[in-house]
Symmetry: C3
Subunit: 356 residues, 3 copies
Amino acid sequence: MTSKTNPGNFFEDFFIGKNIIHATPRTITEGDVSLYTALYGMRFATNSSDMFAMGIGFDAAPVDDFLTFHMVFGKTVPDISLNAVANLGYANGIFGRPVYPGDTVSTRSEVIGLKENSNGETGVVYVRSTGTNQDGEMVLDYIRWVMVKKRDENSPAPESVVPDLPAAVSAEKLYLPDGFNGAGYDPDLSGSRHFWNDYQVGEKIDHIDAMTIEEAEHMIATRLYQNTAKVHFNQHTAKDSRFGRRLMYGGHIISLARGLSFNGLANAFKIVAINGGRHVAPTYGGDTVYAWSEVLEKIELPGYEDIGALRIRTLACKDQSCADFPDKDADGKYHPSVVLDFDYTILIPKTAVESI
Amino acid sequence: MTSKTNPGNFFEDFFIGKNIIHATPRTITEGDVSLYTALYGMRFATNSSDMFAMGIGFDAAPVDDFLTFHMVFGKTVPDISLNAVANLGYANGIFGRPVYPGDTVSTRSEVIGLKENSNGETGVVYVRSTGTNQDGEMVLDYIRWVMVKKRDENSPAPESVVPDLPAAVSAEKLYLPDGFNGAGYDPDLSGSRHFWNDYQVGEKIDHIDAMTIEEAEHMIATRLYQNTAKVHFNQHTAKDSRFGRRLMYGGHIISLARGLSFNGLANAFKIVAINGGRHVAPTYGGDTVYAWSEVLEKIELPGYEDIGALRIRTLACKDQSCADFPDKDADGKYHPSVVLDFDYTILIPKTAVESI
Amino acid sequence: MTSKTNPGNFFEDFFIGKNIIHATPRTITEGDVSLYTALYGMRFATNSSDMFAMGIGFDAAPVDDFLTFHMVFGKTVPDISLNAVANLGYANGIFGRPVYPGDTVSTRSEVIGLKENSNGETGVVYVRSTGTNQDGEMVLDYIRWVMVKKRDENSPAPESVVPDLPAAVSAEKLYLPDGFNGAGYDPDLSGSRHFWNDYQVGEKIDHIDAMTIEEAEHMIATRLYQNTAKVHFNQHTAKDSRFGRRLMYGGHIISLARGLSFNGLANAFKIVAINGGRHVAPTYGGDTVYAWSEVLEKIELPGYEDIGALRIRTLACKDQSCADFPDKDADGKYHPSVVLDFDYTILIPKTAVESI
């Protein structure tokens, strides 16, 4: 009779090339989309209206790309980060085939890097995780690295392998939608007349709006994604922890920032890449989250006349207006309000439909 | 480089005849219906069961008419009431074609009235808003008026135009369902044996039950409707406001009162008109809402032998039982517990199915 | 003019053989499933993935059996337990035809036992409740007994009839799935390599994880099930009650315990019987719930080579780790942390797919 419960993997359990098939494939439904809208106030027309989405070339309203991200991420938690001390970063995230309600997403991961920390207590594990739909098509492929506890401090360190990670996903690696129909993109319905041509590199946008997050909300979200990390759910033990509170799933802030970014980036109709990201500080129930964005790069997409890409950096701050764009200082130290620094690439029509 | 965020419209931005196409068309889904049920405890058989609904002549279970209302209302907020000081009233609301899960609702508005206030700081804007489905059929058409800030106190006042609003939608303007089949209306399944014939004008009904509203609940609801009014979501700024709290979306109370009204009006299977309504006082998280109703009018529907209409006035009260029917006093001053006074018209079978 | 509201039934209103058709048939949808996942963190692959479910012989992902239970239970409340003092127990619960999104479930009950209490103020009512789908197929059939107030202490006691209840549903009465395909049961996707062959009678499993429950969460759940019992919703009156708090619907704990049980019973892919159950103590918003399980019985299923049944007893505890298996003492007195003691039967493959 062995223990029937999952102890999670420790640093020693990972080796380069290890493949993990994650449990609980997930059929993503209209119900998930409704909850997602209700938790973050999403208003992007492409994800909200089948008619709008079909008008620009989708089969129906695809689910928000970050909902796909959470669904894939959540599945990796029991195998990758149950014994994690910290979620350190993301890189090289590529969104593939759009996910539609009814699609079933399965997730697997491969260990691509390992580096023991000098304290001998923990190590950094790099994994490449891939979500695929029921037809085997990739829907999301990304790398993350986490600091994981060792089971035994005396176990020998593995050979260090640190993968070479790109600063950003390059344009030719982006998965672009087939048959985008710019003539169907109605700016009255999308909610903004600001398009690719109107944005400038270095431009900063305060998204103005803010949301206070309740404990019930972040727990409902995190369970929806079937993310089981204990720190999000148990106030009985959290009250005696360093923070005294349940820690919020960092991804909740990513989606909240995306929701807030509608006010300023309403035409960012599709996320195509996650270039990097850092959860700068923890968030808790009761925090109020604001966000601002900076345009890092304007990307031409060869073969696509009517859409371009923008590389965007969105920062989320807690209990602090973003009117002054709270950021890192010259020493790289973040303003104390910053909780998220996220770098991603979106698609946006080049100009208003009238002139296409 | 211009500001990319939406500042909303000020009083000066409205003119008689101005047409606004609102952003973010919305495909309403089964997921939205589940959340609606879960937020308000809806139990009307017509909206709960495809079988019941089809048995009385619908194509499937239509969504609750007030869910349609919120979806349409929410879309108007960024253009009409982002700079509103108060939501003053509703009139002439007509529910048209039933909305079924899968339908996509788009909303547009026309400015039909303007009146600057004597203080020169604000004005009243009257708009007629219309929601239509993917086939262009009207699903809701209603008038509301809001008090909106002026951008500049010195800008000249427009000519005052105050539309002539009916006290109630007249019977001949009601949109009645095709092919209602009274024989399919089973009172065991609907939950009540009280029908049109059993109600009397002037009758008052205490709906007995009550609900305490949590902050997470009203925010989840309001975001589901894609209503972006800042006052509902930001405790960080609300704590320093006059109220010190997030204000609840008034429509949340309308639906909660409708949910409570099941206990007394279970056979009110369809809402056909909003005659008027007033949010008498604000509500906040933690408030407990009760409701009572008064039958204002019994309406015969020519050509419909087995259904009639009731014009109902439902009042919602906070932290106060409605056993004594809290109301306005002789001077028109409301009992301090009253938060909503809502006047609408419902359809109800004339008598139990056995005797039809 | 009679009262239009439902006063509920009192003890005197029940008689042996009384049949009650409950109101509000319910079409169960993907939206309900999403909320259920989001409220309890369900991860069983069979309920999560259409592909997985179809691979083992279901038509699609069936809804969690306890979601079916809550939907059926909720409908009985207005007729059976609106005037109940206590929900005393469950017996002989058999899950029949799986429920799929889109199915409409109707509920009826028959009174099968009555026993007045010696105080003359209350009596125990035993009902057998049956949920059926749109094709008239039984989806759940179970007995519960509740203590109900008498309307009048002076009314005469009925003849006592106490039904003979089985300690557990016997194997031959279980409704087993047609065409189960063990070869499709992938343990990588189900999340565990522990199968029927690996469990032993008397084995105890601490499910480790825990969840803190917010007021918004249990109210959202209880309304989703259209359960109208007043004690769950009204803090305005609850603040003056014996507990000072809203009481949580006991079924919320059943589902939470089932969700937690994934960690140790991940391959329990179908619940087939509720043998008994007791809500040992009330729970409130803010409580943190843990769970542990004991294997009571291993059941061979004649004609089914690749699946067996386990009779499981799951206990939920509040604000107390289950590492030490809090239980009844020798006198039958429960550890003060125990809130639920639930006895049910699940199906589980006999061994990993590789060796079938």
